[in-house]
Symmetry: C2
Subunit: 332 residues, 2 copies
Amino acid sequence: MTAPPTFTLFLVFLCSSLHAEGVPPTAPVAIAIHAGAGTIKRDELSSEAEAEIRATLEKAVRAGHAALTSGQPGVEAVRAAVNILEDSPLFNAGKGAVFNARAQNELDASIMDGASLNAGAVAALKRVRNPIDLAISVMNQSRHVMMIGVGAEQFAIEQGFELVDPSYFHTDHRLEQLRERQADEQANVKQDEAWYSTVGAVVLDQSGNLAAGTSTGGLTNKRWGRIGDTPIIGAGNYANNNGCAVSATGTGEYFIRHVVAHSICMRVAGGQAIAEAADRLIFDTLLPDGGDGGVIAMDPKGEIAFSFNTAGMYRASIDRNGKLYVGIYANE
Amino acid sequence: MTAPPTFTLFLVFLCSSLHAEGVPPTAPVAIAIHAGAGTIKRDELSSEAEAEIRATLEKAVRAGHAALTSGQPGVEAVRAAVNILEDSPLFNAGKGAVFNARAQNELDASIMDGASLNAGAVAALKRVRNPIDLAISVMNQSRHVMMIGVGAEQFAIEQGFELVDPSYFHTDHRLEQLRERQADEQANVKQDEAWYSTVGAVVLDQSGNLAAGTSTGGLTNKRWGRIGDTPIIGAGNYANNNGCAVSATGTGEYFIRHVVAHSICMRVAGGQAIAEAADRLIFDTLLPDGGDGGVIAMDPKGEIAFSFNTAGMYRASIDRNGKLYVGIYANE
């Protein structure tokens, strides 16, 4: 079928007029972030603390969105958002990471580019200020996907990273959490992890590419050398333009066993809507098995899903229409 | 439809006569193992070396099969088979592991139980003789799925493992391989990994449960702290009774990006035949992307698939009819 000449002329006119405004017709961009999920209740969070959390979430999501609207690739937008969450002592990633059973901080992170399926992951870091940055370097500057521990820190030095002293990650409130937890364990008090505060971001960039990144200090009182789902590509983080982008937070062991991020993306690739795919994993697969937590997920059109089976998840987004959303509790 | 009385009587008689032999009617069991895949050619392998490899493969698959027929759970059959491959200096796992760039051996392994989806993984071990055993202990004796490095070795000591001196893993032929590879790198000779010799096993036990285990020394000349697909649940190893069991060997980075083991199992869960599911990943997904290697896979009925895009894969199986198969090259 050929368009009638008048209609074709109308289209030419329409396109010219749009360009004439000086605004290049850019593809939509979108970003969603999280900073953990758990059993938080409204009466446990002071209004000052809540305001600070909301402000930091907004700052992070705006930083990632600014990177996207300025044309930066998805991976750089993820970095911009996650860096702010890592640098804040409010969240369990970078500064503010929880302590392991030996009262040390061991940090994990991962990144994935949905266009190339290139990925980078790091684990058990003690001296890298922003683990997501090292994950990106592993992806871009090495032939490997995953590096851990002192070997990974050696790579960081070669890549020009300035390592920090391990004490950089020490915060009094996290040490207090560890001591309380260890006391509970000694007293055989049932230990529910109240809050899983991994941080992460999923984005759609101007080129139509998805990316996902996740960063964490892991579980309070975790064993020395324990690795959760955050640096496991497919479990806590995944991105594929033919599917979706996912960043997870929760009881990492369950997210590993069910390969949660990859499972959601395979469902979306098979035709399921992003919210439906995320909910099926979080509510039908994880919840009956005892897995607490949630995900942020985004499909190739920038459609966003927040799905969590806990009372709350620190989260924010700027959707493809530019609309900002910040949330903490389930019903908001 | 009701069976005619004479036919019913015949069935009763048949069942009685089977029981009368003293052989309880047991469910079928099956096992498949691998010990690496690569570019091996017939003229590069001496007949003595080939005979030794075939004999060790047969010994390992028979050990796993014996565990299955004696009623042991799948995980124990995997352990029996993999231990023999780890203890042989012929293969890149346990004794015989390749050297990393610092001329050290760093070993990885993982295990998964298809009934419970419980899993265990260990990485960057230097002093654990049989890494698959520690992966099983992590699964059964800890609340974590994955532990690495010295922290994992500390856990091993607590679990009663006798650690070996790192020199236990040193073999002259692997050191020679490292030196050749480093010389090639210095001289800028193009480096194709000729042989990826991870080992692994997949089994179906008498209770109808699948299990998968994988163990490796990784890549020759790998960076300190590099982790491949072997300890990544979903990438190099996966088992789910509602799907399949898979153990992989190859360029681990590609197996991680494509979450190969889990992808195969999701295809089988969706109705695809096991051989078809494995071939689609190995030939359609990995090969065009530059990923070399292969998998062994088994469905819940004990149907076995060997799939590899390299010239050969060390492999063996005893199928649900008790038939032994041992292979090295593609066309046998």
